[in-house]
C-alpha cells in the first residue's frame, strides 16, 4: 500500500510518516507543490494526504491537476483551514475526505483505511480482527459467525477500534469518532466510558478474541491475544 504525504511542515510530516509506517504502509513524502507535482505525474499511489496551504501553490490546484491526469488516487485533504468553502471546493474537486488540523493520528489512520476499503471494489466490504467480522456499510457485526447486536454508537466505537488495532486510542479521539467535531469532546468522556463498558461486555459475552484494554487516564486499546 503506497501513500504519499504532501505537507510543508517538517515536524508534522515526520509524525505522520512514523505513524503510517507503523501500520506497514509504504510512505513517501514531499514538502512543496513542485515536488508533489513531479511525484504525482511520475508515480502511482493508493492514497495521497494533501495539505492545502503549500508555500509555492495551493493544494487545491494540485488536486485539479491530479484529476486532469485521470489518476485514480484517493485524496485526503488535511488543512488548518476549518472553512466550509474549502471543504466544499475540495470535495467537489474529487477529494475523498477532509480533515482539519489538529487531528488525531488514529483518526487519520481510520480515514485511510476506510478509503482504501471503499476503493477495493472487488475485495469484500468487511473488516476483521480475530474472530470479529464487521460490515461497515451494513452495520453488521459477527463474532464467530454469530451476529452481535450493537447500537449505533457502540458500532462506531468498535469500527474505530478495529481500524486501529493495537493502537492506544485517546478518549478524545474516540469521542470525536463517534460524534464528529460537532459535539465538544470534553462533554462525552462519561459517555465514552459507559459505551466502552457496554461494548466490552457484549464482546466478552459473544466470546470475541480481541480485548479492549483500558489504559489509565488516556484511553483504550484493542489487543488481539495471541
Amino acid at each position: 500500500m503506497k501513500i504519499l504525504i504532501i505537507e510543508d511542515e517538517d515536524k508534522l510530516r515526520e509524525v505522520m510518516i512514523r505513524s503510517l509506517e507503523k501500520e506497514q504502509y509504504l510512505v513517501e513524502s514531499v514538502a512543496t507543490f513542485q515536488q508533489a507535482l513531479l511525484k504525482i505525474s511520475d508515480y502511482d499511489y493508493d492514497c495521497i494526504i494533501l495539505d492545502i496551504m503549500l508555500p509555492d501553490g495551493s493544494g487545491l490546484t494540485l488536486l485539479s491537476e491530479l484529476k486532469k491526469m485521470h489518476k485514480k488516487e484517493s485524496v485526503i485533504i488535511v488543512s488548518a483551514k476549518d472553512s466550509l468553502d474549502d471543504k466544499v471546493i475540495g470535495l467537489n474537486l474529487g477529494a475523498d475526505d477532509y480533515l482539519t488540523k489538529p487531528f488525531h493520528l488514529a483518526e487519520l489512520n481510520a480515514r485511510i483505511k476506510s478509503i482504501i476499503r471503499r476503493k477495493q471494489q472487488d475485495g469484500e466490504l468487511s473488516l476483521s480482527l480475530g474472530n470479529i467480522l464487521i460490515y461497515p456499510d451494513k452495520h453488521l457485526v459477527n463474532v464467530d459467525k454469530e451476529e452481535v447486536v450493537l447500537n449505533r454508537k457502540e458500532f462506531d466505537l468498535l469500527y474505530y477500534f478495529i481500524t486501529n488495532p493495537g493502537r492506544l486510542l485517546s478518549k478524545d479521539a474516540l469521542a470525536e469518532s463517534v460524534w464528529g467535531d460537532y459535539i465538544d469532546q470534553a462533554d462525552s468522556f462519561d459517555f465514552i466510558y459507559s459505551q466502552v463498558k457496554n461494548l466490552r461486555k457484549k464482546l466478552k459475552t459473544a466470546g470475541a478474541t480481541p480485548e479492549i484494554k483500558a489504559i489509565y487516564g488516556f484511553g483504550y486499546k484493542m489487543i488481539l491475544e495471541e
Binding site: A80, D172, D187
Partner: protein, 423 residues
C-alpha cells in the same frame, strides 16, 4: 427626527421672532407716520385759520358745524400766552348724531391779533380714518405675516428635498453595504462639489472596508494555520509517545495530563476562531432553519452524552420556530445554550425547554448561585471552576445573537433561565 423637519423647526423659531419684531416695528412706523400727517394737516389748518382771523375779525369765533373738523377760540392773557406752546394730543369727542365718542386729534396753540389781544386756538380733527387705516394695516400685517411664514416653510421644504437628494441616495446606498460583499456602484449624479466629494469618499471608504475585511479574514485564517499546525504536531507526537511500549504507567499518566491540557488549548483556539469568524460576518449563506427541530435533535444527543448525570429533561412547549440563518451558526447557537444547561447542572437535576414561535427558553437546576449579569457574556468570564467549560460558550452565543438580532436574557429564580428572543 428627519433632517428636513429638524431644519424647518430650527428655521421657524427665529423666523417667528424676527417677523414678529419686524411686524411691530412696521406697525409703529405707520402709526408714527399717520400722526405726523395729521399734525401737518393741523399745522396747515392753523396757519389758514390764523391768517383769516388776522385779516377778518369775524373769524374770531368758534366753528363747530363741521363734523370732520372744528376749532375754538377764546381770549387769554399775555402771561398765559407766553407760557403756551403748540401742543398736539389725542382725545375723544361726543358726537350727538352718532351718539358715541369719536377719536379726534387736537392742536392747542395761541396767536396775537393786530390789536394786541391774545387768543387761544384749539383745532380738532376727527381721526376716524386713522383708526380705520391702522386697523387695516394691523390685519394686513398679521395675514401677510402668516402667509409669508407658510411660504418660507413650504419653499424651504421643497428646496431642501431637491438639494439634498444626493444625500438620501448615499444613505440608501450605505444601507445595502455589507463589508465583504460586492459593492454596487454608487449612481448619484450631482453637480454639487460637496456631494461629488462625499460620493467619492464613501465609495473609497467602502473599498477600503472591503480590503480590510479581506485582510482580517486572511489574518484569522493564517492565525488558525499558524496555531493549528504546532498544536497538531504536539498532539500527534504525544500520541506516538503514548504508543511506545516502554512507557511505564506513571509516564502514561503524565502524558495523559499533557494531552488533556493540550486538548483544552485546541478547543479554546477553535472557539476563539469561531468567535472571530462570526464577528467578521464570515457566515454569509443563510437558509430557513427550524430551531425547533434543531433543539429536539440536540436535546436527544446531549441526553445520551450526559446519561451518567441522570438529568431529567422536559419539553414543555414546542411551537414551530423557523428563522433564516446560517445553518452551522444556528446549530452552534442552540448547541452552546443547551450544553450550558447540561454542564452546569447537578446530578439528578432538571432541564425545562420551551419553544414558542419566537422564543427559545431553557431553564436548568444548578448548584451555582445567581450569575453576574455583567460578566455573563464576556469572553473567559468563567463563573465556575468546571474543567469542561472554556468560558467561551456564552460569548459565542452572544456573537451569533448579535448578527441575527436575537435578544438573550438571563433570569434567576432558584433555577437558571436563558431566553432567546428572535425578533
Amino acid at each position: 427626527m428627519k433632517l428636513a423637519h429638524y431644519t424647518i423647526r430650527n428655521l421657524s423659531l427665529p423666523l417667528l421672532l424676527i417677523m414678529t419684531i419686524w411686524a411691530c416695528v412696521f406697525y409703529f412706523l405707520v402709526l408714527h407716520e399717520v400722526n405726523d400727517e395729521t399734525n401737518d394737516t393741523l399745522q396747515n389748518y392753523k396757519e389758514m385759520i390764523i391768517k383769516h382771523a388776522l385779516s377778518d375779525s369775524a373769524f374770531l369765533k368758534n366753528n363747530e358745524n363741521n363734523i370732520m373738523n372744528s376749532y375754538y377760540m377764546h381770549e387769554i392773557s399775555k402771561e398765559e400766552a407766553n407760557l403756551m406752546k403748540d401742543e398736539f394730543y389725542d382725545a375723544t369727542k361726543y358726537i350727538e348724531i352718532e351718539r358715541e365718542h369719536e377719536p379726534i386729534r387736537v392742536l392747542r396753540t395761541c396767536f396775537m391779533t393786530s390789536d394786541g389781544k391774545y387768543y387761544e386756538l384749539k383745532i380738532e380733527i376727527s381721526t376716524l380714518e386713522k383708526e380705520d387705516l391702522l386697523e387695516t394695516v394691523l390685519w394686513s400685517i398679521i395675514a401677510l405675516y402668516l402667509l409669508l411664514l407658510c411660504c418660507i416653510l413650504v419653499v424651504t421644504h421643497y428646496v431642501f428635498h431637491k438639494s439634498f437628494r444626493p444625500l438620501y441616495t448615499i444613505l440608501d446606498w450605505l444601507k445595502y453595504y455589507i463589508p465583504g460583499k460586492k459593492i454596487e456602484p454608487l449612481k448619484n449624479e450631482t453637480t454639487v462639489d460637496e456631494f461629488s466629494a462625499l460620493n467619492k469618499a464613501f465609495e473609497e471608504a467602502a473599498q477600503r472596508g472591503n480590503v480590510l475585511y479581506e485582510q482580517q479574514k486572511q489574518f484569522v485564517e493564517n492565525a488558525s494555520h499558524e496555531l493549528q499546525t504546532p498544536l497538531a504536531v504536539s498532539m500527534n507526537k504525544l500520541e506516538l509517545l503514548s504508543e511506545n511500549p516502554d512507557c511505564t504507567e506513571e509516564q502514561l499518566r503524565e502524558i495523559s495530563d499533557i494531552y488533556q491540557t493540550l486538548q483544552g488549548v485546541v478547543r479554546m483556539n477553535k472557539s476563539l476562531l469561531l468567535i472571530s469568524r462570526i464577528d467578521n460576518n464570515q457566515y454569509l449563506e443563510t437558509q430557513n432553519v427550524s430551531i425547533t427541530e434543531l433543539g429536539k435533535t440536540l436535546l436527544t444527543e446531549y441526553e445520551e452524552i450526559y446519561e451518567a448525570k441522570h438529568i431529567r429533561t422536559f419539553l414543555i412547549k414546542e411551537e414551530e420556530l423557523v428563522r433564516n440563518m446560517n445553518e452551522s451558526l444556528a446549530k452552534t447557537l442552540v448547541k452552546n445554550i443547551l450544553r450550558n444547561a447540561f454542564i452546569h447542572n447537578m446530578p439528578e437535576g432538571e432541564i425545562y425547554i420551551e419553544i414558542t414561535s419566537n422564543t427559545l427558553s431553557i431553564e436548568n437546576t444548578s448548584d451555582s448561585p445567581e450569575l453576574n449579569q455583567d460578566k455573563l457574556f464576556s469572553r473567559f468570564a468563567k463563573q465556575s471552576n468546571r474543567p469542561d467549560s472554556t468560558g467561551l460558550g456564552l460569548a459565542i452565543v452572544k456573537s451569533i445573537a448579535k448578527i441575527y438580532q436575537i435578544e438573550v436574557d438571563y433570569f434567576y429564580n432558584g433555577k437558571h433561565r436563558f431566553v432567546l428572543t428572535f425578533l
